[in-house]
């Protein structure tokens, strides 16, 4: 299954290698990894999505904490959180075929961020399924996709009373899918873990 970890790490050379090397050593494939600045100075925030056996979350988290440069780890399981990915998609489009792409962009709430005689570039933000939806529709059409760049998943836990606050503020929830889809059905047994869960608090 897919696991998502948020790790706060020291912003130093070599830290990314240490984190990546841990997953390599455990024979776990990293699906996506995003790194950037966090709210604290000298602290980077990583969001790591990895394919691993269902019960391996505890050990991965514990092993991450054993790295000296790792300050905090959150294992985002079924927790309520906001999950986003950003993608830039360059599509071949002539002045004659642009209109169709514009329509699609509107449906998917993507933005056109570059326009050239032979191509245009779309920027889309959302959960992975939304981005994949756009890519699928684009590739089913006549317009060839030239390049795709995706950031991978970024997640942040929701505040404890987010929905009530949002209601009170009459702000609509920004997305239909607030919870990370963890319905991935691949068994994904990497051979790492035999047994599941937090030892004293099994799910």
């Amino acid at each position: 299954m897919l696991h998502t970890f948020v790790a706060l790490v020291e912003d130093k050379p070599g830290v990314l290698t240490r984190v990546a090397s841990l997953f390599r050593r455990l024979n776990i494939n990293i699906i996506s990894l995003t790194v950037g600045h966090s709210e604290s100075q000298d602290v980077s925030r990583m969001t790591i999505v990895a394919e691993a056996a269902s019960g391996s979350g505890h050990r991965i988290k514990a092993s991450l904490f054993k790295l000296e440069n790792v300050l905090d780890v959150d294992d985002i399981g079924q927790l309520s959180c906001v999950c986003r990915e950003l993608a830039l998609i360059k599509v071949a489009a002539t002045p004659q075929t642009r209109a169709f792409i514009f329509q699609l962009a509107e449906v998917f709430r993507a933005h056109v961020v570059d326009l050239a005689p032979e191509s245009l570039m779309l920027e889309i933000t959302g959960v992975a399924s939304k981005i994949e939806g756009l890519i699928q529709v684009l590739s089913e059409g006549d317009n060839q996709i030239l390049e795709i760049s995706r950031t991978g998943r970024m997640v942040m836990r929701r505040g404890q009373h987010t929905s009530r606050v949002l209601d009170a503020m009459r702000v609509p929830s920004p997305e239909e899918e607030p919870i990370i889809p963890i319905t991935d059905t691949t068994s994904g047994d990497s051979g790492l873990e035999l047994i599941s869960g937090d030892p004293n608090h099994p799910l």
Binding site: R25, G55, R59, A62, F65, K66, L67, I195, P199, N200
Partner: protein, 585 residues
């Protein structure tokens, strides 16, 4: 030079980076280091004369790492290695990995080319922090003399805190040559952050207590963590209070006295039959500072099927890795036992330990010690006699293989840190250099090397180090002309296809003699004790070449894929089975 800042540590002193290295080591209480000089570490060696630290020159950097490892295991202190860049640094890797697998605190200092030419493939440049990343607890590269003190102090803290392990500090040559203010006290690291997933709260403790008090057939699994946590007394108290038998891992031997009536001995692949049978019959395993290694459990699906498991362990990543814990107490073993013990009242029900002792009877019949002596010399006899001759009080440093298992079976260790052996990584060539470290750490203790003819040849160059450093180390080579453990697997599992395991050795006594070390060759049982007495009476090092039965096997053995009680036993059908194998056409 009298500007050493150790006592007046709050007074910053202007030192070179190289001097800071030694001053920091001195401040950390280091008295001995193991190393080998070379280009990129020359400034550090140049500054050594100003500091009261003993340097032991080894013959290969791998041995420096093993020696520091043996030093740490024998003393409980942090072992320190110094080596230059490039090939010296890569030579350390096996020794570092050995220490990592067995949680041994160690600090390795390597020289590195100057920071200005880092990454240019300069002479003897190698990315040693990259190479050692997966086999160190942490590593650093230092390019600024100001950082040397704080980084080294941090390295010591990391090496010995929590679950101990090796730390490597790579220091560029220009950082060693540059000047910086040094203040030992000010270089103190921030306190170690305990692993955030430690968990031994009230609820789990009382759950564990309930299991312990209601168990009918409990067993304590005594691991290396008992030594690291200094919890020998607490484990013993727990065992005695509830009459719980104690089974040991290889690295746990010595944590519980072998002569104690509740001591079962070693568990696992070559553990005694009654130990593994008892574990399979048990209804509660109390795992103390051990990690359910595959050599301990046999096939996991049938491991201790009737037992609940309480896993007491400081490393959260070990919990549920191999064996599912019913209750996990994650934290310092000693603290946890000290919390539990006041709630446990003494009980005098010896039903279970008596049942376990019944299992011993069958094993005794098969024990090679009790088989008729037909003039052959068996390694088990040698080790048994060595144990008697040394009164079980020597520090024994073993290599890896059959002799290692026989040592674990037949040398009864009464006190902690008296068996030094490479358990997790199983590093051949470990014994002699590690014994050098153990002897430096404990000069007043009797130190014996027990090594096979294969492993001994991997690092036998260290005989020179033994002589140069005037070390009184006794060496027993268990010589069967084979890479014995591999040969045993080929005998049991590969239809006796003895591929590449017959190994020629030099005359070890002559080899020792070439170093000025006296020695003796022993072929018969009757010569064992006299030779051991000669070795013990000798004022310097001594080597005994024991020519033992060529095709003896370590019994019992759990073949890969078998459960703990599915052992290959030593045959006991009236005649000596060993004669058959020794007369192999």
């Amino acid at each position: 030079m009298s500007e050493l800042p150790t006592s007046a540590a709050s007074n910053p002193t202007r030192l070179t980076g190289a001097e800071i290295v030694w001053a920091t080591l001195e401040g950390e209480g280091v008295r001995d280091v193991f190393g080998y000089p070379g280009g990129a570490i020359l400034p550090v060696y140049d500054a050594l004369r100003k500091y009261p630290i003993r340097h032991i020159l080894v013959r290969h950097e791998q041995s420096a790492a093993h020696a520091a490892d043996g030093y740490a295991r024998a003393s409980g202190k942090v072992g320190v290695v110094v080596a230059t860049s490039g090939p010296a640094a890569t030579n350390l890797v096996t020794g570092i990995a050995t220490a990592m697998m067995d949680s041994v605190p160690m600090v390795c200092i390597t020289g590195q080319v100057s920071s200005k030419i880092l990454g240019t493939d300069a002479f003897q440049e190698v990315d040693i922090t990259g190479i050692t990343l997966p086999v160190t607890k942490h590593n650093f590269i230092v390019t600024d003399p100001k950082a040397i003190g704080p980084v080294l102090r941090k390295a010591f803290l990391i090496a010995r805190s929590g679950r101990p392990g090796p730390v490597l500090v790579d220091i560029t040559k220009d950082a060693q040559q540059g000047l910086a203010d040094f203040d030992f006290a000010a270089a103190a690291p921030t306190p170690h952050r305990p692993h955030p997933m430690l968990s031994a709260g009230h609820a789990v403790l009382s759950e564990a207590l309930g299991l312990i008090l209601s168990a009918k057939r409990p067993i304590i699994l005594a691991g290396h963590g008992i030594l690291e946590s200094d919890a020998m007394d607490q484990v013993r108290t727990l065992a005695e209070r509830l009459q719980i038998p104690v089974a040991s891992t290889l690295l746990g031997l010595g944590a519980f006295p072998a002569s104690h009536p509740l001591s079962l001995g070693m568990m696992g692949m070559h553990g005694e039959a009654w130990v593994n049978q008892a574990i399979q019959q048990s209804d509660l395993l109390i795992a103390c500072g051990m990690r359910f290694d595959d050599r301990v459990t046999g096939v996991l699906t049938r491991y201790a099927p009737n037992a609940k498991k309480i896993h007491i362990e400081i490393d959260p990543a070990e919990i549920n890795k191999n064996v599912k814990a019913d209750v996990a107490l994650i934290g310092d073993l000693r603290e946890i036992l000290e919390t539990l013990l006041p709630q446990i009242a003494p009980r005098n029900d010896s039903t279970w330990i008596r049942a376990v002792n019944v299992l011993k009877g069958d094993a005794a019949v098969r024990d090679i010690k009790n088989l008729p002596d037909l003039g052959h010399l068996y390694a088990a006899h040698v080790i048994h006699d060595l144990w008697r001759a040394t009164d079980g009080k020597a520090i024994v440093v073993t290599d890896v293989g059959q002799h290692q298992m026989w040592e674990a079976q037949y040398y009864k260790h009464e006190s902690p840190r008296t068996l030094i052996t490479s358990g997790g990584l199983g590093t051949m060539g470990f014994a002699l250099p590690a014994a050098i470290g153990a002897k430096i750490a404990c000069p007043d203790k009797e130190v014996w090397v027990i090594a096979g003819d294969g492993g001994f040849q991997m690092t036998s160059a260290e005989l020179s180090t033994v002589v140069q450093e005037h070390l009184d180390i006794r060496i027993a080579v268990i010589n069967n002309g084979f890479l014995g453990m591999v040969r045993q697997w080929q005998e049991f599992i590969y239809e006796r296809n003895y591929a590449c395991v017959s190994i020629l050795s030099p005359d070890f006594v002559k080899l020792a003699g070439a170093h000025g070390i006296p020695g003796a060759t022993v072929r018969e049982r009757s010569q064992v004790l006299p030779a051991v007495a000669d070795a013990r009476g000798c004022s310097g090092p001594f080597l005994i070449n024991f020519l033992v039965e060529k095709e003896d096997a370590v019994y019992p053995m759990i073949a890969p894929g078998s459960a703990l009680d599915e052992m290959i036993r030593r045959p006991s059908n009236g005649h000596n089975p060993l004669l058959e194998t020794s007369e192999e056409p």
